[in-house]
Subunit: 174 residues, 4 copies
């Protein structure tokens, strides 16, 4: 089972749409996957699911279990303020430690409205994921200008599609 | 006015104690400062103060105003999962953009129980702060093994004290 | 005196042309500057000017002295293999330590043929320069697609020119 | 074949000794490996093997071929000025592009006299290697205080040995 994480809790995010699209790519290649959208996190998780409350919020636990039980993970990460959304890192801070992500394999996709494509988001996450013992595929597509390259549920840019398909195949055999 | 930000919402954090200690250093040098502790953030701010709700949570706004109105900022940042706390970045994601941090000057201090001293936390934050147009002092003390080097409200390690005092002086004249 | 460093030893580099252009910006603002081009490094400096040979190569010393004696520095850095040129870092490895760059102030400009604009080159250099005690301006223009935006010795992109002028003014008052 | 790269051209480096020790670990696990020491690079390679001279220096080519022909790579990297040695990056700048490192698998080990253990060296290299399409194992041992933890050709610190052995096993099955 591959779990695809929507890396923001924004409602109706483009990241969610890209995650659904990525699931269709994995479906086509015969790999089973599910989407976890951080929009479903309980709103008060910073005070009800972290630190001394780690593991005590059952709604939070339902979501984190879909991440912790996966063998492989995909993170669709929009660029917020030059890096990943804080909520994504706060979610990671609420995982079981150290077994939450250790020895899993992951693929990262960056999104941005602007030209950077989430390049720092992916670099910073690679530092964090490697620190936690999770492997990260070298190929991390940066989907800059996502609004101009996504329409009706599909990535419309040929290069982006090539990169996403290449990455999905590498993840399956990772 | 210098605002010192406690970079976690953990209750009774060591970071808070280090922030109070840093305030006493600034006091001794004649610089006016205040401490803002992210423990005071409303627990549900990820759903009530970000994105389309940006600016709509008055409790959140009270805290962010102490940051946005400062000319200089100090961030006391514990290492969580190899980087900064997600809650700190989520707080940054709730600031006014782009004027929230632009052209301010900042000093970063990293804390850790382990040996890294928050080295990635500070590097990642520097990427983010520079992206947002805020300057960061080169000297970023890394207080590794903080529990063994802090007692009764004071940093007890001579090197750490030297670094914190040097940094405070540089910040005042930055 | 501001020293502008051409961050590659490639002959007839675009970086050199951008450095000369940057000098004209500083000239117009009344700031005195000089250009140092790493193409002038002795070809064998990795064996004649580093480690136990540090300080022993007079040709190398002539160049490094223009860097070490400056109060402020500008680095024009092309993207090579996703970061800065190795030769630039090898040059830095041959500076006097720790006084070579400590407490200086610097401005970074990234160049690339592709779309990244040297974003990692600048982030990695910021880590290194801050480690060495040199301050780095938050604003680091990323001149992506430089070949399409530079002609007859001048940057032709209006946004790029705005950023370079803003940065130059900030550096002068840094 | 696994190629172990000594990431500096310093003579008689500790990195070389650690590379030889790592080879003995791989030998014990039945994996074939060879050590490439950058001390063997021709001293003038920055002017004779890069850019328009790429591929034209036969001594340089002999060394790079041992790297380019390997399926898996180990990099033993000392911390110089808060990151990797510039000479290592300059060597990378002289590889064939893009096929030089693409799709290979790698393991990184950081060394330092001080307390950081080359943490930035490994983070920066991960950015670069991933950019070039080479996978990097999540586990990157940081051998801080190497002089106190290495004696007579052997790492003497039990934790370090555990990490190196774990990494070597992961690399073999990567």
């Amino acid at each position: 089972m591959i779990t695809i994480v929507v890396g923001t809790n924004r409602k109706n995010s483009v990241s969610r749409q890209v995650a659904d699209y990525y699931k269709s790519i994995l479906d086509n290649k015969g790999a089973t996957s599910q989407v976890v959208d951080l929009v479903d996190l309980p709103g008060d998780f910073p005070t009800s699911a972290l630190y001394e409350e780690n593991g005590n919020n059952s709604d939070f636990n339902t979501i984190r279990e879909k991440v912790q039980s996966a063998e492989k993970l995909v993170f669709v990460v929009p660029e917020y303020n030059g890096s990943f959304p804080g909520v994504l890192k706060a979610f990671i801070d609420g995982l079981k430690y150290p077994e939450g992500l250790r020895d899993k394999k992951s693929a990262l996709i960056g999104l941005s409205s602007g030209v950077q494509g989430g390049v720092f988001a992916m670099s910073h996450l690679t530092d964090i994921f490697n620190y936690l013992g999770m492997h990260v595929l070298a190929l991390k597509p940066k989907l800059a200008g996502i609004e101009q390259n996504f329409s009706e549920g599909k990535v419309t840019n040929n290069l982006y599609n090539q990169l996403l398909n290449d990455q999905a195949e590498k993840l399956i055999s990772f």
